[in-house]
C-alpha cells in the first residue's frame, strides 16, 4: 500500500521550487534592462555638451559685438571654428584626453529655388567609419553680413538670414 505520509512535504517542495524560480527570473530580468539605458545616457551627455558648447560660441564676448560663431560662419573661418569647438568640447578639469570628432554643416533657406533649402560643409575633424554612436546637435545662427559667403558662391543668398548649423559629433 502506498503511504501518504510525505504528501505535505511534496507540496511544500513544489511551492518552494516555484517561488525560487520566479524570484530568480525576476532578478535576472532586472539586470538585463540596464544595458540599453546606459548607452542612451552617455549619448545624452554628449548631446548636452554639444548644445552647450554651441550656445557658448553663439554668445557675444562684448555687448554689441557679433558672436564668435556668427563671425566664423560669416568669414567662412573653418579653422577658427574647429579650434574653438574642440577646445570647448574637450575642456575638463582633469585634462583627460577626450577624443571627440565632428562634422559641421550649414543649412540655409533659398528663396528663389523650388528645393527651398540647401547646405554646404562648413568644418570637419575626422571621418566616420559607420560604427560610431553619432549625436546630432544644432544651433540657429543669425547672419547679418552675407557678403563673404555670397562672394565665395557657397549657396546662400546675400541677405540677413537665419541659418541652421548642424554638428554631428562622435567619440573615436
Amino acid at each position: 500500500m502506498v503511504e501518504d505520509n510525505a504528501i505535505l512535504y511534496t507540496i511544500e517542495g513544489i511551492a518552494a521550487g516555484i517561488l525560487l524560480i520566479t524570484t530568480a527570473y525576476l532578478i535576472i530580468s532586472t539586470t538585463t534592462i540596464y544595458t540599453p539605458g546606459d548607452t542612451h545616457i552617455s549619448d545624452m551627455q554628449m548631446e548636452q555638451l554639444g548644445y552647450d558648447v554651441l550656445a557658448v560660441m553663439d554668445t557675444p564676448r562684448l555687448d554689441g559685438e557679433n558672436s564668435p560663431l556668427e563671425t566664423y560662419i560669416e568669414t567662412n573661418n573653418e579653422t577658427g571654428f574647429r579650434v574653438e569647438f574642440l577646445n570647448l568640447v574637450k575642456s575638463n578639469s582633469q585634462n583627460w584626453p577626450e577624443n571627440i570628432k565632428f562634422k559641421a554643416v550649414v543649412y540655409y533657406r533659398n528663396q528663389s529655388s523650388a528645393i527651398k533649402i540647401g547646405n554646404y560643409t562648413f568644418s570637419h575633424y575626422g571621418n566616420t567609419t559607420g560604427s560610431e554612436h553619432l549625436v546630432m546637435v544644432t544651433r540657429r545662427v543669425l547672419i547679418t553680413n552675407m557678403t563673404t559667403i555670397y562672394s565665395l558662391d557657397l549657396g546662400p543668398e546675400n541677405r540677413n538670414q537665419s541659418v541652421l548649423l548642424e554638428v554631428l559629433m562622435w567619440r573615436d
Binding site: 511551492a15 525576476l26 532578478i27 539605458g37 545624452m44 550656445a55 533657406r109 544651433r139 543669425l142 540677413n160
Partner: protein
C-alpha cells in the same frame, strides 16, 4: 496527517514560507524600479529642451535687427520643418508676439505682450 511522527517543525516551515514570500515581493519591487528609470530617461530624451531654447533666442535676437525680418522668420519656419521636423509659427500682431512650436511629441506655446 495525524500520523506524522513529529510536528515540532511546523513553525520553522511556516517562517520559511513567510520569508520566501517577502523576498518574492521585494524582487518585484526591484524589478519595477528599473522601469521607472527607463521611462524617465526616455521622456527626458524626447523633450526638445535645447530646440525650444534655441528657437526663442533666435526669435528674440532677430527682433533687434533693423529693417524687415519677414525673411528671417521664414528661414526659421522652413529650416524647422525641413531639418528638425517641427512645425513653428511666429507671429507679431498688435504688440503681441506669439511663438508656437510642435514636433509631434511636444507642443509649446508662448505669448509675449510687447
Amino acid at each position: 496527517m495525524a500520523r506524522l511522527m513529529n510536528e515540532d517543525g511546523q513553525w520553522i516551515v511556516l517562517m520559511g514560507f513567510i520569508i520566501s514570500i517577502m523576498i518574492f515581493f521585494l524582487a518585484i519591487i526591484v524589478n519595477q524600479s528599473v522601469l521607472v528609470g527607463q521611462t524617465t530617461a526616455e521622456s527626458v530624451l524626447d523633450f526638445p529642451k535645447s530646440d525650444i531654447q534655441d528657437l526663442r533666442s533666435e526669435v528674440f535676437s532677430s527682433r533687434l535687427l533693423p529693417g524687415d525680418i519677414t525673411g528671417i522668420t521664414e528661414d526659421i519656419k522652413t529650416l524647422s520643418l525641413r531639418r528638425k521636423s517641427a512645425v513653428v509659427d511666429i507671429s507679431n500682431t498688435s504688440g503681441t508676439l506669439t511663438i508656437n512650436y510642435n514636433n509631434g511629441v511636444t507642443s509649446y506655446h508662448e505669448t509675449i505682450q510687447l
